[in-house]
Symmetry: C4
Subunit: 193 residues, 4 copies
């Protein structure tokens, strides 16, 4: 899955292109501080894609064979991930201008949630078509699936709450990053390959 890794790495690195230096260098400090929504959106999306990358490895470590539909579903997942810089740019723009914040937060949260949706689609398809490793513990399989489904629900909640109160939507998504980056109970360090 070197191709997927490359798409994650490129997407995460392109995020910075959406942040433009302030036009007025006469008061540069003010201009740099006024870009805080861009920095915030950058950090939230960066940590989210980093998280998706880690979990993508966890997922494909369990998949022993890929048929054409797994490749297609994975391509759809990458298509949504590669779209996130645009959603990030929309969010940052709305937070900076103060206009359209509700729309921007919902748009952003939906983009994240569709990422989780395609992620779940790859996993569910692989489970149902017996493409997983033979030695995979059913309990582990269920635990992974649950974790992915929770992400789907969490980010959907972010979209709904963001429609009510934009700042709440952003907070829910930021909290998602924190929760999913925390170590999992009982997980041990992995030897580096």
């Amino acid at each position: 899955m070197a191709f997927s890794d490359a798409v994650f790495a490129i997407t995460i690195t392109l995020l910075v292109l959406e942040i433009r230096p302030p036009a007025d260098e006469g008061n540069l400090l003010h201009g740099l501080l006024a870009l805080w929504p861009s920095y915030l959106a950058y950090a939230v999306t960066f940590l989210f894609i980093g998280q998706v990358w880690v979990n993508h490895h966890v997922m494909f470590d369990q998949i022993r064979a890929a048929d054409r539909l797994v490749l297609l579903l994975n391509t759809l997942l990458l298509m949504v991930v590669a779209f996130l810089p645009f959603a990030t740019s929309v969010l940052a723009g709305a937070l900076r201008s103060g206009d359209g914040q509700r729309t921007a937060v919902v748009f952003y949260a939906i983009a994240f949630d569709v990422t989780a949706l395609t992620f779940n689609a790859v996993w569910q398809y692989a489970c149902r078509h017996r493409l997983l490793r033979d030695d995979l513990d059913p309990a582990a399989m269920t635990a992974i699936g649950k974790r992915f489904q929770l992400a789907l629900a969490w980010l959907a909640a972010g979209a709904l709450l963001g429609a009510a109160l934009p700042v709440l939507g952003v907070a829910v998504i930021a909290a998602f990053n924190v929760a999913y980056w925390l170590p999992i109970e009982g997980e041990s360090p992995r030897a580096r390959s």
Copy 2:
């Protein structure tokens, strides 16, 4: 062919840079909806390049040795693929503005068809100069070649039909993605490397 993979991955990820957030945040929802041609062009090109990537692997899995002309032909293929974000941007712009649609669709379809042309050139050259694996079944060789030639004809038809009726050209290319992503009869899942 890690170099080719990287070019495919980068090109596919750069596509999103062609989509610019709406300038007017006052009516952001309207602005985001008006960008539908950009989303459409993004998805069609993304799925096309994903398809080219998959088939590029199928092709190079059969090639046992590369001489300098294979490298040159492959570089020409990459040169056309890396050009697709520009053609995509031209198409999206014309669909958004309503002007120049015929020209844009033909330009877009030709870019896709030249991709197929260079693809066929690599394959034909490798076949004729005996650079394929020794254990390759002649029937499989013929089947792969036929599939690549069909792509060439299909996309040329997209250009011709697009010249007559732009929407038809886009539909033919979108249908190409569907047809070429479908599983091939009798194909079995491949173990992940």
Copy 3:
């Protein structure tokens, strides 16, 4: 750590996008020469990221296992590195316009120093949680740690001196590149992997 390598390579290559061709082709030579701050900022950041890449390899060669917090700290490191093109663009803009130089140099030096900070965080965490290779000589471990801490202090000095006199801050950072690229006493050539 192929993912980290990719982020370094992409960031380093995106730097050039911040340099825009002169708008006035009537006096192109003058326009190209006037871009010297962009060339300077490009070279300093490029050599810095190249240096970070080399040392990132040195560091991860000593780490035998990665837990989730190492991954998170490394992701934070990449998040800061991927942000450097923006800081570079801010610096180049201020040097070109003559306004806001003090702010721009301090901002740039802080971005470099936070890179060193996250770098040290990965190393310290790995040292304290016994994630290093068993055969690592304690003297080598101490030497690596010292070298990383010196970088942190050096770049902090760059920020402080840049606040007093912008040109001095840039000189201190440029000198950092020179010092850290020089061969280390007693180091022998490494076989290529």
Copy 4:
């Protein structure tokens, strides 16, 4: 040298970002045709970087060990390569506007020639510090070095002739691509790794 490969692949793929769709969709065909200098500059630089990539592999296949100065010289080489999209953009802009062509062609040729210069520096350094493979035939070593020196002279001639007559400079560089992509007498196909 996966890092170098990545920088080549990213640079080559970023070239397309310098080509902007015509602003006036009312006469799109005219606008697309008027971009011919951008297409030309894109193709020449793409084929040049592809050539540098191939030769970079040839060169590093002969180098058995890399010390810190080889890494630094290689980083300088990458720094120049990653700068080529800017030089390409300057050339395309001048050819489109008709102004500043002499300056632009010389600038472009110098950027290419400095690439060749850093390339020769890596090779010469590796030769003199005995970092080459032990089984390397001295005749092969001399042949490789000659080929690299010829590139340096050829591209310098491109800069000089471009200063006299811009179109001649571009022709000399385009001819360089042709000459260096041609198969070398006696070279045999290489098994794919």
